[in-house]
Amino acid sequence: MTGQPDTAVPDPTIPDHFKAPHPATGTTRVLPGFKITLGVTIFFLSTIVIIPLAALIARPWEHGLEGFLFVLTDERVIHALALSFFTALAAAVVNVFAGLAVAWALTRYSFPGRRLLDALIDLPFALPTAVAGIALSSLYAANGWVGSLLEPHGIKIAYTPVGIFLALTFIGLPFVVRSVQPVLAEFEAEVEEAAETLGASVVQTAFRVILPALMPSLVTGFSLALARGVGEYGSVIFIAGNMPYVSEIAPLLIVIKLQEYDYAGAASVGVIMLGISLLILLALNIVQRMFANLGSAK
């Protein structure tokens, strides 16, 4: 700068996202109802979430650590967990690409029926999983609309891991689309135009300017789809075939162990699944923080 100081330099001791506390929410409580609402909240969270989860976490150890490890090292359990995780992973990866394409088409192009399709994106959220399950199963069974087309070519989808992958793709799509869509819709036109005037082609603008800005939301959508997929039950069991060691998912194993009155075994599988979900969300959190530190979050 020439001479005069730049008055707009932000105070380095105040982080960018700092928001001064609202005077009314400061030290004195102006508004009534704090104790009663906090009481109700804590009562619900305790009875509905905390105590039940405590029962889950406490249960696997009734035969000691060995009992837990026995379940954990059971090949059938490992197989089911791996199946749930990897099919969910594959579906989430596919959904990142498909979801991005769908979100792009819905926000960038005007075409008849756009609103309707936009509303339909949420169908997997709104459609009960059992309904989705029997629909997908009957579509892709050997005598179904799609299955009968594929059967002559020796392609089997229903009652194989491919069917599971397909169901999880259905379930996961809205997570990615709904994460990316608002970011894409609010992406400043001037930034794209700047890239254009600087000589970037459409493809260069998409990959170098827009995609990096979408990264945090893509990661969010991916993680949510993955976490949901690992625990998904209703839409999967009808199409999975549920063959031990082949197409038996982890949540189903819990149901089977419960039917055998093996509470500790069921809880063990449950605890591991809970751990996987929390790890995925923790990883998401860490990655998001990395993005924020890059200066791209603001």
Partner: protein
């Protein structure tokens, strides 16, 4: 002439944004497009950048038809009002972007790009901040990065859209001086959009005043300032006092006194305009009878607010040492314009 804009028209769904705009810019000239919001100045800038296409008219640069070129082939350096920096890129990466996206055979080597970035960082006086992200910069710094990014592609024309609009007054003034220097050093033809007349007169070689999509006046800052071509330009450039009078043989006649008219005007009745600093106040003698309603400081001047007997409001400016210092609220005075402007 390097940049020629001829009979350009642009209509947005039934709303004409530009009507028959024509002007030319010499190579290296600094042109300000001045006008209120809605006057079409940003639209014109976007046409020059190729971000919109005109409905009719010609735009050419050094004999080349610009309308046939893509925005990315025009090599215009555009600085957006919102800066439009790439937030996931560092300052250096932002500046290098335009070079990095060139096709492989036209792209400078890595070392060349690096030295260009360093040179530009030095030019914008941010040598040490190349590794920062836009979110870590102040508004003024972001503005300078946006300019460096535009300069990096070695633009044929530099387009600036209200570049200082979002900054506070002190930073604005500082950047203005700095921009003048940059223009001097690079010598690139520059078109600059602003609604701030002071900024336009201060920076530009020539000013194009726009109103409702039409060119109202083109001229040097001095011409625009001393010979506003219309009532609109006169009012837009600063405060205007208005009084009714009659012109005969180039002299304006008021009730009991007269004043010279700037420029030529036909005989007849007019609403005559005069500047606050081109008026004389006295306790006695001829003039419009007024009462002082406020005495205020205005920088190096003293500003007086006055009220005529018919309720009309006036404003005058005087240097601190003048006799106006002796006036106070409630005084009854005579206001006599030194020079008036007449517009039909």
């Amino acid at each position: 002439m390097s940049l020629i804009i001829k009979n350009v028209n642009k209509t947005f769904t039934n709303f004409p944004a530009l009507k028959d705009v024509t002007f030319e810019a010499r190579s290296g000239e600094f042109i300000a497009l001045l006008g209120p919001s809605g006057s079409g100045k940003t639209t014109l800038l976007r046409l020059l950048a190729g971000l919109d296409t005109p409905n009719a008219g010609e735009i050419s640069f050094e004999g080349e038809n610009y309308l046939k070129l893509n925005p990315r082939d025009r090599r215009v350096g555009m600085v957006f009002q919102s800066y439009a920096l790439f937030r996931h890129m560092t300052v250096a990466q932002n500046i290098a972007f335009g070079l990095n996206v060139r096709p492989a055979k036209e792209r400078p080597s890595k070392a060349e790009i690096k030295s260009t970035v360093e040179r530009l960082l030095k030019l914008i006086q941010m040598d040490d901040l190349g590794k920062r992200y836009p979110s870590q910069l102040s508004g003024g710094q972001r503005q300078r990065v946006a300019l460096a990014r535009a300069l990096a592609i070695n633009p044929r024309i530099l387009l600036l859209d209200e570049p200082f609009g979002a900054l506070d007054a002190l930073v604005r003034k500082d950047l203005r001086r700095w921009l003048k220097r940059i223009h001097h050093e690079t010598g690139v033809t520059t078109i600059f959009v602003t609604h701030d007349q002071e900024e336009a007169l201060d920076l530009a070689d020539r000013v194009v005043v726009l109103k409702g999509g039409k060119v109202e006046q083109i001229g040097t800052p001095l011409e625009i300032h001393s010979q506003p071509s219309s009532a609109f330009v006169f009012d837009f450039l600063g405060s205007a006092n208005k009084a009714n009078g009659h012109i005969k043989d180039g002299i304006a006649h008021f009730d009991g006194f007269s004043a010279p008219v700037a420029g030529a005007a036909n005989d007849g009745d007019y609403t005559l305009r005069f500047r606050p600093y081109e008026a004389h106040l006295s306790r006695t003698g001829a003039g419009i009878p007024v009462t002082v309603t406020a005495v205020l400081p205005a920088g190096s001047n003293l500003r007086l607010e006055l009220k005529g007997t018919d309720g009309a409001l006036f404003e005058t400016q005087h240097s601190h040492g003048s006799e106006a210092q002796g006036f106070s609220v409630g005084d009854t005075l005579r206001l006599k314009p030194e020079r008036v402007y007449a517009y039909a």
